[in-house]
């Protein structure tokens, strides 16, 4: 366990070095958030009908989405890719740690460090300048925190699964882009999930992707009451477990027939 913690923290510290990329990301996401907020405001001002979610809740939902964007499973670990391409993967196999847990630990830092660097300044900006609202209650804040940790773990499990597919495809780009497309549509990043048509709600709710975005944000807003916290957290945990099991099986199969590139 200690060795995995060392992997997480070493990787975390090295990722914190990329500050100028974080600044660029910050500016981009602020502009993006403003565009999206204006579009939704225009839609909300066109109707008097009761909507499944308040306009102001949608704004907060959008800012949370911009703040935690980097935590989504949107890319693969390029360091691992070059290891697989160069044959350096051979060294990974002789390390005295369980390879899957090692890769999952890497993914955890990879999803957390860049996200934290952007999230903190962006949230301060959204609170001070854009009038984003705080969590509805202390209980909601605590539920949001726990659910957000689960979201990061889910994202890391999906990322690790994508990394494992590179053992077959070498590049991994295609699978990653298809997965990220599904994530964007069904997590709530593109449109907050409660605004999708009513008939589609049961399907969207069963899928894993809401656990990345929609579940924690709606707990924050009180749109999912704290009394339902146990249920939605279980949904997240079940999918985390599913991706971990799938990742482990896929990795075991790949390693049985792995061909180390290079000589």
């Amino acid at each position: 366990m200690i060795s995995y913690w060392a992997i997480v923290s070493a990787r975390f510290r090295s990722l914190l070095q990329y500050r100028s990329a974080a600044l660029a990301g910050l500016v981009t996401q602020i502009v993006w958030g403003m565009i999206r907020v204006m579009i939704f405001q225009a839609f909300y001002s066109s109707t008097n009908a009761e909507q499944p979610m308040d306009g102001s809740d949608v704004e907060t939902y959008i800012w949370l989405g911009q703040a935690f964007l980097a935590a989504l499973p949107w890319n693969i670990d390029t360091d691992l890719r070059s290891l697989i391409r160069s044959g350096g993967i051979g060294y990974e196999l002789i390390r005295p740690v369980d390879l899957y847990s090692y890769w999952l630990s890497r993914a955890l830092s990879w999803r957390t460090a860049p996200m934290l660097m952007r999230a903190i300044p962006l949230l301060i900006f959204a609170f001070v300048v854009m009038g984003m609202s705080p969590p509805v209650s202390w209980a909601a804040a605590a539920a949001f925190f726990v659910s957000m940790c689960a979201a990061i773990l889910l994202s890391s499990a999906i990322t690790t699964f994508l990394n494992v597919t590179m053992l077959w495809t070498i590049t991994g780009d295609g699978v990653t882009q298809m997965t990220f497309g599904l994530v964007l549509i069904f997590s709530g990043m593109l449109v907050p999930l409660p605004l999708y048509p009513d008939w589609s709600q049961p399907i969207i709710n069963a899928m894993p992707f809401r656990g990345l975005v929609d579940t924690p944000y709606r707990l924050y807003l009180g749109h999912i009451p704290v009394s339902e916290f146990a249920g939605v957290l279980t949904h997240q945990l079940v999918w985390i477990l599913a991706f971990i099991v799938a990742g482990r099986i896929a990795m075991a199969r790949a390693l049985r027939r792995v061909v180390v590139q290079g000589g």
Binding site: A21, A24, G25, V27, T28, V31, W32, M34, I35, R36, M38, I39, A42, F43, Y44, S45, S46, T47, Q51, T169, T171, D173, G174, V175, T176, Q177, M178, T179, F180, G181, L182, L184, I185, L190, V191, L195, Y196, P197
Partner: protein
């Protein structure tokens, strides 16, 4: 001139053949891009399903504008991959190789690569435009049909101009500034909705600063025969796309200044 076109075609043919060497990877990337771009269009449909109208605009009008903007950007994006990779070329000194060839630098970079998967944005754009055109009861006069062509050409030129400007900055910063993506991708995101829904300062920025509205929103109004809520006259809506072409010409001039200031990093 003809000679340049010939060379450009050769460049593109080489690039396409190279990409087809990895068919499975190519198809998956194309699929992934399609899901993402189709998702954006689906978002518009979902929102109209909930809200019925967007301050007076109906879904077909928005789909029409969405189509024009996305087709323009897809064309520009596919043709300027070389400029996207330009930051790395400056860093490694590879740009020196381009300079010693007896052809224009802009032409060589444009022909560097025609990334096929970038065309995936074209599909939802075309689908949206066709679907909107079938439902809008448009009057396809010769003037309107040519205006649509000119507006897509103007839009593609404007986006290409932006990407060239972004690359030009690398002459001074030696890296491509990611922040400039806010203007291109943010511009697409912004102008695929009617520009009058935004706050005035923001709308003015995309009309007078980065004139993206002049190649999408204004000509689209003229084609649809919708009076502008912002009150621009019809003659302006017909001539506005020319601004996009002027923007590209201006950008290429700035590019030339950049080339003259180029100091190689290579050893």
């Amino acid at each position: 001139m003809l000679d340049s076109l010939f060379i450009y075609r050769r460049f593109l043919a080489v690039s396409l053949r190279a990409q087809m060497q990895y068919k499975a990877s190519f198809l998956m990337q194309l699929g992934g891009r399609l899901i993402i771009t189709a998702g954006e269009f689906m978002a518009i449909l979902v929102l109209f399903d909930r809200f019925d109208s967007l301050i007076g605009w109906n879904v077909y009008q928005v789909a029409f504008i969405y189509g024009v903007v996305n087709i323009s950007f897809a064309v520009a994006d596919a043709m300027t991959t070389g400029f996207d990779l330009f930051g790395d070329m400056v860093k490694t000194g590879d740009f020196d190789r381009i300079l010693i060839r007896p052809r224009s630098t802009a032409l060589q970079l444009a022909g560097q690569e025609l990334t096929l998967r970038r065309i995936s944005r074209l599909t939802p754009g075309l689908v949206a435009l066709t679907w909107a055109a079938m439902n809008l009861d448009l009057n396809w006069t010769f003037a309107n049909a040519s205006l649509l062509m000119v507006s897509v050409a103007g839009g593609a030129s404007l986006f290409a101009g932006l990407i060239v400007l972004q690359a030009t900055l690398a002459f001074w910063t030696t890296e491509t500034l990611e922040m400039m993506n806010t203007l291109t991708y943010g511009g697409v995101e912004t102008t695929q909705y009617p520009i009058n829904i935004y706050r005035p300062w923001f709308r003015n920025f995309f009309t007078f600063g980065i004139p993206l509205a002049t190649v999408s929103y204004f000509p689209a109004l003229a084609i649809m025969g919708t009076p502008d809520p912002l009150g621009t006259p019809l003659w302006f809506q017909y001539t506005a796309p020319a601004i996009g072409i002027a923007f590209l010409i201006g950008s290429l001039q700035v590019w030339r200044i950049g080339v003259r200031h180029y100091l190689s990093t290579g050893s």
